[in-house]
């Protein structure tokens, strides 16, 4: 059984200018012990997808899906109470801003303990020991003495470690990390990513890592989903994605990386920008910016097509040489 299975997820927001589909037709499956990266630019809907999964989309947002199952449990049919029991215990999340995700009024140890108490994960007498053990596990030096520290006394990297400790407190089976290292320096980012992967292996968790950084994807993921304007446009194994991207957007995104442009005076770019609420094109959402736009692309929205091991939302997925099939 899949640990997580989502089919045809859509999230709609009622705005003053009509309904807006922030996420549309997203499929997401994850096995236990697998690392999936969801990559996309700002506004691509990657964070909204995860918030929908956690049941954290507030009014006026509306979530719908054909299937949304976690370990066999139907998430759509859960009562808020049952959902709260599941979330935080079996599914946990780490956010982008460690400084604002922690409550500045309480010591970090207390906040981790609260997560333990909320789900009665360990007997009351053992809570303290467990907190120390968790802090130690996430690589915080002198954990016993750091329990009483407040978030402002710790660095960004240390706070993110605390957030991770909180997330794994109840040994979840699925961990969702939403841009967990974007606010951190490179050397700290590396440490946090290594920590996340280490914990994932150790506990056999499923890990969904949301990021905009292709380098992070390449170094952590086993499988990648690329999102564009609220849609999943490509899904592939990591090595395949970087060697032979199937969707023109993925290919263009990789080409635009300075790292891939060694020796070239100018970077290949993607013209224009991600469509907003008002300027969604007909047909394929990427067609105004695509290098290979055909008549069909402007009139008909493409479905997900399988090509090799990959799936791409394109009428003419790219072949191994980067040409449309």
């Amino acid at each position: 059984m899949k640990l997580l299975e989502i089919r045809n997820l859509a999230v709609e927001f009622a705005t003053s200018r009509g309904r807006f589909r922030a996420v549309d037709g997203v499929d997401l499956t994850l096995d236990a012990g697998e690392i999936l990266c969801v990559v996309g630019e700002s506004g691509s809907g990657k964070s909204v997808t995860m918030l929908a999964l956690m049941g954290l989309i507030a009014w006026p947002g509306k979530v719908s899906a054909d299937v949304m199952r976690f370990d066999g449990t139907d998430l759509l049919g859960l009562s808020p109470r049952q959902r709260r029991k599941l979330i935080g215990r079996d599914i946990a999340m780490v956010f982008q801003e460690p400084m604002t995700s922690l409550n500045p009024c309480y010591p970090v140890g207390w906040q981790i303990a609260e997560a333990l108490r909320a789900h009665a994960a360990v007997p009351r007498a053992k809570v303290r020991d467990r907190v120390v053990e968790l802090l130690d596990q996430v690589g915080i030096p002198a954990p016993a003495s750091r329990m009483g520290a407040f978030p402002h006394q710790l660095s960004g990297g240390m706070n993110q470690r605390v957030m991770i400790a909180m997330a794994i407190a109840c040994t979840p089976r699925l961990l969702i990390a939403d841009e967990p290292t974007t606010a951190l320096d490179v050397t700290i980012q590396k440490q946090i990513l290594d920590l996340l992967i280490g914990l994932q292996r150790q506990h056999g968790m499923g890990l969904v890592l949301i990021t905009h950084d292709m380098g992070v994807v390449a170094e952590t993921a086993q499988r990648v989903q690329v999102m564009y304007a609220g849609q999943m446009v490509e899904e592939q194994g990591t090595d395949g994605l970087f060697a032979t991207p199937r969707h023109p957007y993925t290919a263009a995104l990789l080409d635009a990386l300075p790292e891939r442009a060694m020796g070239r005076p100018r970077l290949p770019t993607i013209p224009g920008m991600v469509p907003g609420i008002d300027d969604r094109p007909d047909g394929c959402l990427f067609n105004p910016r695509c290098r290979f736009t055909f008549d069909r692309c402007i009139t008909t929205p493409p479905a997900l097509a399988s090509i090799g091991d990959a799936r791409a939302r394109c009428h003419t997925p790219l072949d191994g040489q980067g040409r449309p099939a």
């Binding site: 770019t269 013209p271 300027d279």
Partner: protein, 299 residues
């Protein structure tokens, strides 16, 4: 530079700033009601000469303490009755609205401009100047505002102008602190640095660059300060320290009517009611304004 956005991606026109503001303001019914009351008040004040049935200071010797029209003994000549020396209360209220608005406007104008200049100076100068200005403001804040206003009027001598001055001084710290705080947060932003490295003078930075971006909280404070000013000026008038009889100022009217509260309730009730409505209108409007202008309260 061929990446200029292709024409077919051209965005639809965005709604203007005012349209966005109005949409969120109109959601608040109380605020719209406050705005409506304010408009009525302004019209009444502006057209006082046309709509007031009588002169506000003429004494009708035949009708001391005449009751309002719907009460026994009332007449359509004096719709809301007359006071102890035979002046028409409705006319006095109408002219009083004019006075109250003038008081509110001048007090707010005075303390808003002074407070903004002081606050910006404190924010830009920093150091000793900042310390000095803000400590003076703290000293003003230490005293209960009405008590301080009374002291100031006692020193300057009673009268409407001095009362306005006193209220302006009392409301000064609010504006100063607010403009200093928002100027400080704007100063930290990059566009100020950019303008500075383009060679802009401090004066230009203060009033052309920073001030326009601090207006939202100041507007809100001003609309709330309007009601404080009217209330405080009325209180001073009530204590005999503000506008002097026979000026038709609402607070002064109340003071003169105090001894009749058992015999002729209308002499007391209508000016009080007028003050209540006006203050309520400005407060509702100010709250609505804050909700509409403060991005943190937006959903």
């Amino acid at each position: 530079m061929s990446e200029a956005v292709a024409p077919r991606l051209a965005a639809a026109p965005m709604p203007g700033r005012f349209a966005i503001f109005w949409r969120s303001f109109a959601e608040n019914r109380g605020a719209v009601m406050g705005l409506g009351l304010m408009v009525v008040l302004v019209i009444v004040a502006a057209l006082a000469d046309l709509i007031a049935p009588h002169s506000p200071i003429e004494q009708y010797r035949a009708a001391f303490l005449a009751p309002p029209v719907w009460q026994e003994g009332g007449s359509w000549t004096f719709i809301l009755g007359t006071d102890d020396v035979g002046r028409d209360i409705l006319s006095r209220l109408i002219y009083g609205a004019r006075l109250s608005l003038v008081i509110g406007l001048s007090v707010v104008a005075l303390s808003l401009t002074t407070g903004t200049v002081l606050g910006l100076t404190a924010a830009f100068a920093g150091g000793v100047v900042d310390m000095f200005i803000m400590r003076v403001m703290d000293i003003i804040l230490v005293f209960p505002s009405l008590l301080l206003a009374i002291v100031i009027v006692a020193i300057l001598g009673p009268g409407m102008f001095n009362a306005m001055l006193a209220v302006a001084i009392v409301t000064l710290p609010g504006f100063t602190r607010l403009s200093r705080a928002s100027a400080l947060s704007e100063l930290a932003r990059d566009y100020v640095t950019a303008t500075r490295s383009a060679g802009a003078s401090t004066f230009r930075l203060m009033f052309d660059t920073v001030l326009p971006n601090c207006t939202a909280p100041l507007i809100v404070q001003a609309s709330l300060g309007f009601s404080t000013a009217i209330l405080d000026a009325a209180a001073l008038g009530f204590l005999g320290l503000g506008a002097q009889p026979p000026t038709p100022e609402w607070g002064t009217m109340l003071a003169g009517a105090l001894q009749y509260y058992q015999r002729a309730w209308w002499v007391l009730a209508f000016p009080g009611f007028a003050i209540l409505l006006t203050v309520l209108a400005f407060n509702l409007f100010g709250d609505g304004l804050r909700d509409a202008l403060d991005p943190k309260l937006k959903r």
